[in-house]
Symmetry: C2
Subunit: 292 residues, 2 copies
């Protein structure tokens, strides 16, 4: 198995896989980038934009000769797609994905293939925007960003090295950790915030005068709710894919809101200020990590 893949197949060419294709081609990192998907129109557009060299709607045609396959499909489609790919996979084809939750990917791949293959490296680029689709893709999306790989006990070091090499060529910094650790961390910093933002805008949308209320919303509201413009299907899949960790994080947060409500109710100025101050200090002290 080549540590440096020469032909890469992107399965589902949306924002993430499309940006990866653009980045790999800009870096002249691989010989060919092939697109596989269900909609010819979207794949033709991806080729037009330069994210892929050619495409096919047929898995066996697309995967022929590919040494690395990247699943860019929503989490909810991983199992079905893997079942379709199964007959076309060589024993040494390296596989990876870009899903925001990793435990469910491991489970779905195992269910689709019968066992978890040594060549599968679950992955998650910590990058993206609230937009989706290949039209929103750009070659520098991963520059200076982190990609978390969560190889399982079954994953071979060679497979992990191939995927790491690919992401580094796309400009990213690669880190490895366990599936469980990834899922717990991301539940707090990403999945819970999305749920909270969707929830707030949904609550607002049910107010009879929500049009007027939104008219007087300012920059704070705009930024706080930016992630509520994200793809509903993708985030439905993430929340359900990482269900237990999301429920844990949401439960902790709901207990915190109960405390906050009690402090406001009791007009406890000191208690409120202490919480606000601790939050500001934590955020300001770590700004440099996420402003990059």
């Amino acid at each position: 198995m080549a540590v440096q893949p020469r032909r890469v197949c992107l399965v589902g060419v949306g924002l993430i896989a499309g940006s990866l294709g653009l980045a790999l081609k800009r870096a002249d990192a691989v010989g060919e980038v092939v697109g596989l998907g269900r909609r010819a129109e979207q794949l033709a557009r991806a080729r037009e934009l330069g994210a892929i060299d050619r495409y096919s709607l047929d898995p066996s045609e697309a995967l022929a000769g590919c040494d690395l396959v990247v699943l860019g499909v929503p989490l909810g489609s991983v199992r079905g797609v893997m079942e379709q790919l199964r007959p076309c996979l060589d024993a040494d084809t390296v596989l990876t994905d870009v899903g925001s939750a990793k435990g469910c990917v491991v489970d779905d791949v195992e269910a689709a293939l019968g066992r978890f293959p040594t060549t599968f490296v679950p992955g998650h680029p910590i990058a993206g925007t609230e937009h989706s689709g290949v039209e929103a893709a750009f070659a520098t999306l991963f520059e200076g960003r982190r990609v978390i790989l969560t190889p399982t006990a079954d994953t071979s070091d060679d497979a992990t090295a191939s995927v790491q090499w690919m992401w580094e060529r796309a400009g990213a910094e690669v880190i490895t950790m366990s599936v469980e650790h990834h899922d717990r961390m991301l539940a707090i910093t990403s999945h819970l915030p999305h749920l909270l933002a969707f929830g707030l805008v949904d609550m607002l949308s049910r107010a009879p005068d929500h049009e007027e209320i939104l008219r007087y919303a300012a920059g704070g509201f705009r930024d706080f709710t930016r992630i509520a413009s994200s793809d509903p299907v993708m985030w439905r899949d993430i929340c359900l894919g990482n269900r237990e960790a999301v429920l844990d994080a949401l439960g902790g947060y709901r207990r915190d809101l109960e405390t906050l409500a009690e402090l406001v109710e009791a007009a406890d100025a000191e208690g409120l200020e202490a919480i606000f101050r601790s939050a500001k200090q934590t955020r300001d002290a770590h700004l440099h990590w996420f402003e990059r």
Copy 2:
């Protein structure tokens, strides 16, 4: 009483009053901008930055000859400051404030002066950043932004016209509405989101591995929590100043989170997607209002 004030006194020259001073002076809108405060060092800095022409620590000296007084102090200081200003106010000095909640300002002004004066126009510029202090002030902060004035039944039309004139010269669009309507709307679009963001970062800061968790936070988390870098004392005062409307909004939101938790728990894909989709549609449809 002049509709166009010639000498303006800024009481407390921080981000908002400082930016107002810069804007009025850039527009050459008034003859003189005087600063009044407790800290000579901060006032000297405000003069250096061009936000005020001169300053004093003495209310009677600062207010002499001023036809418009703008309170730029935190909500929690309004009552105490008005008690100090009381002996120095002429019957026709127009007064306004910039606080993010208005019911508590009306109550505090009434308590300080014995009755709510016809010359007081409660106001709230929908502008600001997560930074504070005169160092963060800039002349264009109010350009294209909305300022909400909430004149009471006692407030004279002339006083309202003076304050409106001032904000328009600073580049803002002025809207008037009732105190109650303002406080309910802002509780939802501003006060609640701040409480939620402070709460999330505070929860995170109590996790033993919060340093590592924050290391993998991405742009979504950064934007969602930007407002948690806001001034803790200011937001403590706002949450308590607008206590009832904030509790209402928080109560509604907590019920919504209960629903969301039930949907995740039950793995109700349709139910989750419906909420996420409605939120995205509402936000996308009204983006043009708050992206300005």
